[in-house]
Amino acid sequence: MPESNDKITVTVDGNEVRADPGELIIEVAERAGVFVPRFCYHPRMKPVGMCRMCLVEVSSPRGPSLQPACFVPVADGMEISTESQSVQKAQNGVLEYLLLNHPLDCPVCDKGGECPLQDQTLAYGPGESRQVEEKRHFAKPIPISTLVELDRERCIQCSRCTRFANEIAGEALIDFFGRGEDTEVAIFPGKPFDSYFAGNTVQICPVGALTATPYRFKARPWDLEQVESTCTLCSVGCRIAVQSSANEVVRHLGIDIESVNHSWLCDKGRFGYLAMRSETRILEPSLRENGELVEVSWTDALEKAAALISEAKLVHGPQAIGFIGGARLTNESAYAWTKVAKAVVATDNTDAQLGDGMPAELVLGLPRATISDACKAKKLIVIGEDLKEVAPVLFLRLRPLIEEGKIDLVEFSTHETSLSKLAKASIPLVPGEIGTRVRALIGFIKGTKDAGEGIGIDVQEIKNASQALGSLEDNSDLVVIFSNSSAIENTQDLQAGILALEESFKNAKFMPVLRRSNIFGALDMGLSPNLLPGRVTLSGAKEYYKKQWGSVPEKSGMSALEMLKAASESKLKVLVLLGCDPISDFPDSKLAKDALLKVDTVIFVDSLANSSLDYADIVLPASMDSEREGSFTNLEGRISRISKKVSALGSSWPDWAIASELADALGEDLGFGSLDDIAKEIARLAPAYQGLRSTLSLRSEVDEGILLPVTSTKVEIKRKQGDPMVHLGLISVEHQGAPLKSGASNEPGVYSDEKQKPEIGSTVSLISKSDIKSDINLEPETEASGAKSLRLVVTRRLFDRGTQIYNSPFFRELISEQEVRIHPETASSLGIDNGGKVSISGESKKVSGLVVLDNRVDQSGVVLTWNVSEEDVRLLASDSEKSAHWVEVEN
């Protein structure tokens, strides 16, 4: 970027530095290579200037004065001294003061060795204490949530944790208590700090006051080894440092990546590694014999699998074989499995989604927004799920901006979400009405009068939304984030709404949110019917891939729903489950069970046992994150690295190796001797990925990742330093956040360069809007009848009874109870009270739950939560192909 003309010049310790007006002294100094010590300052939060550690001497007409570098912006000609005598005295004084009441129990403190208080005392503090009085005492430590413990004696009252909770997460469940010297951090008695983001406070605590229960006394910082990796527990793809001790993962820390997570993580991602050592981990291949799974060698298992696949193919044709799942895979593994299915078996029956997602063409075919686009947007439309539940850190990035009024939010949701109170307009939704309501809004903006009327919603909300969104002319400052608003319904209606928005709001960008792991990578790698790797369609790229692979399926294949139906009708003979659990995750659990029961062979490739394992005939153990490597594509289409830190447990293999060996057993050579071979083939063949340097997965530097489709040849490193406490020469920082040497790298990261971009023989065009089906039937196939008059909506929670969560005792307590969200008027007409226990009856079963009155729920709907109690909400639904399900709610 050309240097802007309004730069100003300041001197830091005698050296001239150019700076932007408004930049903080602490930032300018840091850029000039001068570290100013600090405790309360955090680059991702607003400065408060409280700890006074960052005092520097600043020139002024009235002579030099001590000013907090974290709070005072630079001014032209300002002379800043960070090491004058008065600065040194102030630093020494602040540290002496902080240590007065600090217990100095470093030998038994988790933070010892990576502690900013310890390090900065060494560098700037007094050698010994002059205090003779007794220190302040508190009971220690006290749990403030399931995952976080508080030691008030160690606390230095910097307010980082309380500010994070309030300013970033928007959940002020902790606050300062008391005054002056007696100030402590406290929860409200009986209301623990059960925020999804509580773990971040442990990471940013500059002392050992907040510690993570699962990590306590697990390791010493100097024994830790770490690699940079990507969290795969949802599709946001937060960058993490995976830290291990004695070949066991003991901690995840968030790395500060400008474009993605700003160092934050959700607790599911931060503590998700706990499942690695769960008792339900599958360690050895096995075959079912006489109803029991019996451990066998890999050779036996693979040969058996190959034999059954070959036989089915021979007898029933490739259409009789199907592959469901794949979101858990790395891009390379997904590519390998796609090649097994589509080139070796020659079936297009692959689906990484489990019937609760969105059509792949809709996901891949629209102009995609990045997280930065969304954060810089002036206007934001969010349709569907509560982002906090499905893409937590995306929510965390957006929430403060919406609260500050930098982004105007219009949401369409089935219930009150974590953003509803901040929204300019919140339009209630029932499935089936998305298209109508979106069109009503567009009509109103266009000036078609009373367009908002007669559709059963508050016209005022439409007016508010219209005001927030302004005109339809240029909408390059508008981002639309969308997801399926009810896990048990299809998304035809959503598709209609999105297409209407795309058509009316010119230049808007879109961000589809699918929640599962590397689902975007799996779709990009072709694990979906009618897709081939690199964001191309089977019909569009058939010839191209045929030339490269030798063979591709002749016909379009089946979706997960179609495969399960075919299996239940005994038309599908072999079902390969790629890290998925249809019994728990498919919207129609009856169909899933029936299918797994009827299909001849279930090949189960996974790391942890789940409900579908009971139906498996062949079990192939796959390695988990931090035991494997590869690349990940997040919901923006940004590729980042998944790294290996520890050896795989038991005999588990990385998925790509399982695919490759299975192909081998099937008599075909995929040509993949190593992960790098796959990465190279993707970069050579897969159109959206073409030109990607094959060494991607082997890079060690921290950077922003690269956005797809690959267009630029260089990737700029815009990263801020991983931990704000970074101080050169202090070894402890190596162990906290990202390693300094990579974070501060000045060398621009280069993922791809022109020379390596291969010539492509034929032109294959990427999936675009024209591939999205527009013939949509919006009529619900069923209608309300009799007492069953409320339309059932099922939403997701971050912590549910999913495998990875249910296998961690820390998480299990965080699973909420079944809530029954209902409009107050609907409730009163049914004689139902807030907080009361009710039962909901649907097609066959009953489910019970606690009533939450929510005036953002549409009066014709009732909102339940997926997979939080033993009672299965899916059993309330009828056939999942029907687009509407109706239930009755009674006391």
């Binding site: 005092l55 008065s86 004084g93 300062f176 010297e181």
Partner: protein, 434 residues
């Protein structure tokens, strides 16, 4: 110098029975100033106040007219009256709020009119429960009387006023902490810049914060003109001021005095004022302007009660409260008690003040109780120096607000003036005054 005679300004009604009621107020020139102000242009009202050279009565002594002129123009602006009087030994607002609440309300309305404000808040110290009740009653009466609300006295000017109770925190007397408290938060002072209330104040809007006594002068200034006010006093110390006298004097109490024309000796010894030191004892030291101020000794007794003169001598008139300590006073104990006050009242934001105040207090207490070490004397001074580098006056600071740098005032004064007493405590292992 002598005690000058003049017609009292702010204290005129304080000795009249039932002066807090509207009835008594009206029969003693009540709301005359407001009616006159409403007939003037707002700018002219402001200009009278500028002419009056009325210094803020809260402690910092900044001219009210200039404070008003600094108010940034904005669609929404606020006026907040600081009645959180908590500086130890200060009790003039306490008197005003209990005895003449209408005068405060009238002054506030005049200020609001001059500033173009439509909502004003009077922040009344919570411990003044009776005063709060009287202010609330007066507010009801004022609404009823038409002095508040829509279209005041038919002038077209409308104003709403809210009486807001404090809840016991000295720091809320600091204007930005007061605004935080008024926003329903912990009373943490804001950092200036950028949080100058005139630019970013209550709810982020431009705000004028005036002391209760300051606005109590406004009705008189409007009636008699700014020049009449400025004619009293001398130089920048214009007008009269309520001084609160306490400690070892025969007649502790509040006295309205013409500024700069009267000396500390007059205030302490004049038979109509302090009436001299009790039991005929001699003076050891006095605090000229609240416990944040450095102490004076007998040599400063003839100094005039002028803001500039006191500042030049290394202290301040501050909140206008004079504490007299006679020869029997233990300076260690006095300084320790004042330090204990700051330690209890530190808000806890800044490390030096939060931690330093407690440490200094504990060390001072140790010395007072006879468990001090010789090195403790320099230790407390150095600890003070880390809060207020150089221990100079006006103080430098390593903290956000001036509470921290107020801690060294008494400690440094006591040690400098009475080091022998400290040494004696340490050597004898006890307090010789006890």
């Amino acid at each position: 110098m002598a005690v000058t005679s003049f017609d009292p300004i702010v204290s005129k009604r304080l000795r009249i029975p039932n002066s807090h009621t509207l009835e008594v107020y009206l029969s003693n020139d009540g709301y005359v100033g407001l009616k006159k102000a409403l007939s003037m242009n707002p700018e002219d009202v402001a200009s009278e106040v500028m002419t009056a050279s009325l210094l803020g009565r809260g402690g910092a002594g900044f001219p009210a007219g200039r404070k008003w002129a600094m108010l940034k123009n904005d669609l929404v602006k606020y006026l907040v009256i600081n009645g959180d009087e908590s500086e130890p030994a200060t009790f003039k607002d306490h008197e005003l709020v209990e005895k003449d609440p209408h005068q405060i309300i009238e002054g506030t309305i005049i200020a609001a009119y001059a500033l173009g404000v439509t909502q004003a808040f009077i922040f009344c110290r919570g411990e003044f429960a009776l005063g709060f009740e009287r202010l609330q009653s007066a507010l009801n009466e004022a609404y009823e009387y038409g002095a508040l609300g829509r279209d005041i006295f038919g002038s077209g000017f409308s104003l709403d006023m809210v009486i807001h109770p404090g809840a016991g925190a000295y720091i809320c007397g600091e204007e930005t902490a007061l605004l935080e408290s008024l926003e329903g938060k912990r009373g943490y002072p804001r950092i200036k810049p950028p949080f100058f209330p005139a630019v970013i104040g209550l709810y982020g809007k431009p705000t004028v914060v005036n002391n209760m006594e300051t606005v109590s002068n406004l009705p008189w200034i409007v009636i008699n003109g700014g020049a009449a006010f400025a004619a009293l006093g001398e130089g920048s110390s214009a007008g009269t001021r309520l001084f609160a006298l306490s400690g070892h004097v025969n007649r502790p109490g509040w006295y309205e005095i013409e500024m700069a024309k009267t000396t500390f000796r007059d205030l302490i010894e004049h038979p109509d004022l302090g009436g001299g030191i009790r039991m005929g004892r001699s003076l050891k030291a006095f605090i000229p302007g609240g416990v944040s101020a450095p102490w004076f000794g007998p040599n400063e007794m003839d100094m005039p009660l002028s803001q500039d003169a006191v500042a030049q001598a290394g202290s301040m008139l501050g909140s206008g409260s004079v504490v007299v300590m006679d020869e029997t006073t233990c300076p260690v104990r006095a300084a320790w008690r004042i330090t204990k006050f700051f330690s209890r009242e530190s808000c806890g934001q800044c490390t030096p003040c939060r931690e330093g105040s407690g440490w200094i207090e504990r060390t001072m207490r140790r010395i007072e109780l006879g468990a001090g070490r010789m090195e403790d004397i320099d230790l407390v001074l150095d600890a003070c120096d880390n809060i207020s580098p150089g221990l100079s006056w006006p103080p430098k600071q390593t903290t956000i607000c001036v509470l921290g740098p107020s801690i060294p005032s008494s400690v440094n004064s006591a040690i400098t003036m009475f080091r022998d007493d400290f040494v004696a405590h340490i050597k004898d292992g006890k307090c010789n005054y006890a």
